[in-house]
Symmetry: D2
Subunit: 319 residues, 4 copies
Amino acid sequence: MSESGREPEIRLAGGIVPPLCTPLTPERELDVPSLEKLTGHLLGAGVHGLFVTGSTGEVGYLPDRTRQRVLEVVAGVAAGQVPVLAGVIDTATPRVIEHARAALEHGADALVATAPFYVPTHPAEIAVHFREIRAAVDLPLLAYDIPVSVHTKLAPATVAELAEDGTLAGFKDSSGDLDDLRSVLETVDTERFLVFSGSETMADTSLRLGAHGLVPGLGNVDPDGYVRLHRAAGAGDWARAEAEQARLRRLFEVIRVGARPMSRYSSAIGAFKAGLVLRGVIEHGTTSTPMIPLDDAELAEVRRLLVEADLLTGGSNQS
Amino acid sequence: MSESGREPEIRLAGGIVPPLCTPLTPERELDVPSLEKLTGHLLGAGVHGLFVTGSTGEVGYLPDRTRQRVLEVVAGVAAGQVPVLAGVIDTATPRVIEHARAALEHGADALVATAPFYVPTHPAEIAVHFREIRAAVDLPLLAYDIPVSVHTKLAPATVAELAEDGTLAGFKDSSGDLDDLRSVLETVDTERFLVFSGSETMADTSLRLGAHGLVPGLGNVDPDGYVRLHRAAGAGDWARAEAEQARLRRLFEVIRVGARPMSRYSSAIGAFKAGLVLRGVIEHGTTSTPMIPLDDAELAEVRRLLVEADLLTGGSNQS
Amino acid sequence: MSESGREPEIRLAGGIVPPLCTPLTPERELDVPSLEKLTGHLLGAGVHGLFVTGSTGEVGYLPDRTRQRVLEVVAGVAAGQVPVLAGVIDTATPRVIEHARAALEHGADALVATAPFYVPTHPAEIAVHFREIRAAVDLPLLAYDIPVSVHTKLAPATVAELAEDGTLAGFKDSSGDLDDLRSVLETVDTERFLVFSGSETMADTSLRLGAHGLVPGLGNVDPDGYVRLHRAAGAGDWARAEAEQARLRRLFEVIRVGARPMSRYSSAIGAFKAGLVLRGVIEHGTTSTPMIPLDDAELAEVRRLLVEADLLTGGSNQS
Amino acid sequence: MSESGREPEIRLAGGIVPPLCTPLTPERELDVPSLEKLTGHLLGAGVHGLFVTGSTGEVGYLPDRTRQRVLEVVAGVAAGQVPVLAGVIDTATPRVIEHARAALEHGADALVATAPFYVPTHPAEIAVHFREIRAAVDLPLLAYDIPVSVHTKLAPATVAELAEDGTLAGFKDSSGDLDDLRSVLETVDTERFLVFSGSETMADTSLRLGAHGLVPGLGNVDPDGYVRLHRAAGAGDWARAEAEQARLRRLFEVIRVGARPMSRYSSAIGAFKAGLVLRGVIEHGTTSTPMIPLDDAELAEVRRLLVEADLLTGGSNQS
């Protein structure tokens, strides 16, 4: 679909495409060495793509130059081994197009955009929005359905229409609505249009329904688990996929460690980063302002859950 | 409160502070001459401040450099006659601080920021958010309560706490919750803390409850009406204020002209800009992508309402 | 409007129409003597009507026969001195009509009904709903706009249409949307159609906007305060009305005493009933299952607020 | 769990438990012969239980005596062949208990209750609510999770707690949240606690996740389809279950035939009843006031979808 002249083109495919955490220094600057290590950690696990500057990547907090630097670093490490998808997240079309142009320039193989938010919107305008982004920047475009953040839900009929006319190359569902996911899969040409689920906990079910791939935030902490789940599903070994999913569901309890007044996002992103620190992948668990950092009791709970999931040995004390 | 060394300081005060529309050319570039004329039109009506890059100013659509240029142009025309407030609207703290720094540089006298959006948030994080913005840029900071866009409501207790500790210099209510507005007015020091209402239609009531000022989008089209309303209220002539409000309530029906599938924002911003074209203030009614433009029937309805409100003569045909 | 042949007809009018609490024994049976005393307490304060089986009256908890008994008792005590309005609250038309028939039989002078709830609904169906209720039972019908309970908002245009065609005799706003309240007042014939506000805290503002009356739950505890507020407003003495309102706003903090896990309704109804016990009007503060009863600390806070509002002397220890 | 002394006890089990439509005459009275035929139609298809006075049964519209008569008629026809579950749907505990007592008297084998609605509620109160219902009436109690109607979601932890202490015998999910359904299945004792899905369109997935049974409204129109789907799932023949589901998903488009202004419920219930008329099971498609009846074009679309699903022959003209 992309004919931007860049050669050889990285073909967008399904599989495990983790939404990368964005490692920060204690001063809240981008921690480039940690980001490089994280990218290597994911590639080493055999993931099939890398999604930068998504919600898990704290995109809503990152200044533009940091977003671009993240993409540049990850695309540099990936070096064409797997496609790099870039979230181009902003309130409305002209601002999104600015991000899309920057993403093209900094090495993205595909773009992921939400419906407009903050500004009131309407399905008729959402369709214009995606068409204008697609027309402005020649990269495959995926629609990112994340009602918890944008407060509108993409109707399967809208997705189907934008798939049909070539605006969209794919769809990432972070709504949790598996019924709508199935409707999309029933109506698009699944040979040409890729459907991803953002669910950590219904990954096996999503694949069973025909989804091409997964974009699990928890895949930062345990990419091997998701790669195994995906491989089992691909082989039709659903019992094994379900067993892996059951383990990952228990591990996903990390997102609930934050017991003091804080957003659930503070808890989840804090826990993913803490898990990466505990596993020795990144240097610091620092999250962006104004998120509330996890305290020692909460971090101990993250450790406990990692031990239970066989990602750490209980005796070690490496936090 | 500001000690930025810029002299002479423009003191932020109450009164009529219209949120300026952002005139665009048919190619959707900033129409600087029209923006200058609009600023002059408002100053000529005797407004007490100018609020740029707010929701009415299509801030969610404008790229950063356009936001900055708008501020620069308006501050240039205002030339210290009245304070210029700049909306620094973005998803979370680090991005908002970038806008705040740019606003300081381009001539803002005060900043207006919302709670975080897109990213999940929590009252504990909202307080950190405003404190960090205030700490980063030395300009008076107003909290902008606009739940329809950000999907959280600022609790009066949070506003009071941030007023008390000097984080906030004021509050702009666009929630429509007059009970909460009253609670804020009951708990802050109204000698030092400014409360604005964003309501076009409950302006008289807001002033009666003690609000210091108004930020009405419709004030682009009819600034004289709001200046008269404010003057009557200041003189305790509530009957006159209510009569003016009644006329402005009828005029505000312009926001509902859009009868085809479109967001209510397309209808409202389209109508304000059409009204400014009809009144000869700006050149084009163009709105940002992906808003749906008003059609001829809808524009005729805008004209009819302006004639009814005595802002146009019925015989003229100047559209 | 009612031509039911009952003579002499009690004319529905504006003024203070408290929504009566429903006193219960510790065994959660209707406490008839307390209900009689409460009715007398309100009539003695000079209220202009009595509203039974509304939300404040725990209508959602009361079995049908209790609802009917409440109405019977209150209508008996009122004995034609003031009109008795009955809430006929249920999920959809046929069930509401059953309540309406029972209310006619047990002494109601007017009916108060919400839009359908639990069942999905639509404005086109809401209009049918009110028309069918009006056609079935010949009593003046008021629409009760309470989105927090029914999860739809009555559009002013719908209210105006149903006022125009004689379906509705009035409207009770418990939405808190004063802008819509004003729209209703602008479009109905206010000589024939009565508009009530259910707000405890914006009562003066509602009257200033033209509302005919008030239905404040807090009016159980302090009917004299609302009668004074209404009298001041009627005399155009807005400063006095606002001062009374300010005192009542502080008293209304009673609804927030419930600090443990409970619904805000448990807190509010518990506090109103506790206030009535403290003032010696009813015997027990018991609320319906499954509401959480207030504990001693919470009750002490109710007492403190009553003392502050001059409804109790601080030295007494009558709880 | 039930020790009501009624012998022989009907054991509640999983399987297909359709929520029966409530046939009405054109005068909107209960059509008893049609209800008897519908019950026979379902039993003939081999369903495993019957659920009366649920949302599909228009419970929100039916007066108490109609609810009781429906139960009596269906229990009479069922005659102990399969358990009969009765929805005891009302706003809060005391009213629900009244329905529960009536249901026990009129032949229910189990009760299905929602969280409180209309009245504000809280998880702490929801737990009390179910415990009080269970204590009052000795029949197995299922929690009915239907946020679209009651506007709260039952947390899996609440369900697990009420399962653990014996309050609940089962859970019916009509939230569409398969992730939560899975959490419930992971935490309860699935030997003793029954989990049903109310989804027409994710029935295969729900069974795959471990649900014991299905309560599909569309099962009125095509009980054989759901019985086949359930049988295939029970045999581990997931390909066959998915194929049946795919056909039923297409048929479920009947709920969207209503293209004029009406609630989606008018469309869905109208379509189910129209389908039953077309299939010769019930006499009239009449729905309760204030639902909007389907018009001829909408009915033709229902027919078309039934023909496509092989439930009618295209040539016939039996509507």
